[in-house]
């Protein structure tokens, strides 16, 4: 049997197995929109007791902050790995003359849209991070909006504009600060005699911007880490696509 046939057979066996198990599991799920839900019954009172209006943030950054720390470092490791793989090799060279490649050929409507949406999108991103404990969203979502929104500068201007707007060294540092910040915030609980990652700050008034204690600080750390990781990732891809040439003929 050839390798291609063997791998197809393997895919068929694994795929149908997964499909059967999934169909069986679907029958056991609670119905859509059914109340009460056993998890919600426990998570919602726990969130409200710490004055966290956004229950999902309470689950992510208070009730199960340890899981979120793991997820944060998954993203951190992925971004670092991509940056490492896409670094410039000694036989590759920079091609400065192509720097304005791409966005100059874009329609003026897209140009204008990028220009008009840049500032509002960044504001939405900051809002979503800042209100992570209060309204839907949080550090991860806001960070994703910030990182994507920043690249509207590329659509509105060109590669040079984007480079000025996002110095890679700054985001390099910000990514590390965001990732380390989460852990340090977790460690801060030890100094007041609580376990790692405890929400030990006063929780304020339910629904106020400054409420929920540590949840908002964790959100900010994650927002920094996610935004920087995505910006770095895109920076490396853009650099490879637009600037770096050569290599690989050795």
């Amino acid at each position: 049997m050839t390798r291609a046939r063997a791998s197809r057979l393997l895919l068929a066996v694994g795929g149908s197995g997964a499909a059967i198990l999934m169909l069986l599991a679907l029958g056991g799920l609670p119905r859509l929109g059914d109340v009460p839900h056993p998890y919600a019954e426990r998570a919602v009172p726990a969130a409200l007791s710490r004055h966290t209006a956004n229950v999902i943030s309470s689950v992510n950054f208070d009730q199960r902050a340890f899981d979120t720390m793991g997820e944060e470092f998954v993203l951190f490791a992925a971004a670092v790995a991509a940056v490492l793989l896409l670094r410039r090799f000694h036989d590759e060279e920079e091609d400065a003359h192509d720097l304005q490649y791409g966005p100059r050929d874009v329609w003026s409507a897209a140009n204008l849209a990028g220009f008009a949406l840049l500032a509002p999108t960044m504001m939405v991103g900051l809002y979503v991070v800042a209100h992570g404990a209060v309204s839907p969203g949080g550090g991860f979502q806001g960070g994703a909006v910030l990182a994507t929104g920043l690249h509207l500068a590329y659509l509105a201007g060109d590669y040079v504009v984007l480079q000025r707007l996002r110095p890679v060294a700054v985001f390099d540092a910000a990514e590390a600060v965001g990732a380390a910040g989460f852990v340090l915030l977790g460690i801060s609980a030890l100094f007041v005699g609580d376990p790692f990652l405890t929400n030990w700050l006063p929780t304020g008034t339910l629904g106020a911007l400054a409420s929920a204690g540590m949840v908002e600080l964790f959100n900010v750390a994650v927002g920094m880490e996610v935004a920087s990781a995505l910006v770095l990732l895109l920076a490396k891809f853009l650099e490879q696509a637009l600037v770096v040439r050569g290599g690989g003929d050795a």
């Binding site: 839907p136 949080g138 979502q141 909006v145 895109l234 891809f237 490879q240 696509a241 040439r245 690989g248």
Partner: protein
């Protein structure tokens, strides 16, 4: 009742566009279809009352991932047009299987 109709339409759209993502062979086109698929998934998440997940989905699935694909294709095509074979390893390079 209205909610069920909206959900049914969005689920059908997700299934349809998801299938077309898998059936599109050209990577550049596929990136654009993937972007549309991400948008439908984002709308589905809003309909399922998960606006926060929708926000991340639209940022990552509709913008970042397709952009990474398009940038990679641009890089590969540029290297090919200059007579180089990017990622052309000595042996065992199973062409086409990576897509």
């Amino acid at each position: 009742m209205m909610a069920e109709v909206v959900l049914a339409v969005l689920l059908a759209a997700a299934a349809g566009i998801g299938t077309s993502v898998a059936l599109t062979r050209d990577p550049t086109r596929q990136a654009l279809v993937l972007s549309a698929y991400g948008l439908v998934l984002g709308m589905l998440m809003v309909a399922l009352q998960a606006p926060d997940v929708a926000l991340a989905q639209i940022g990552i699935g509709t913008a970042v991932v397709p952009l990474l694909v398009v940038l990679t294709v641009a890089k590969v095509e540029r290297e090919l047009s200059e007579g180089r074979e990017p990622g052309d390893f000595e042996e065992g390079s199973d062409k086409g299987s990576s897509l």
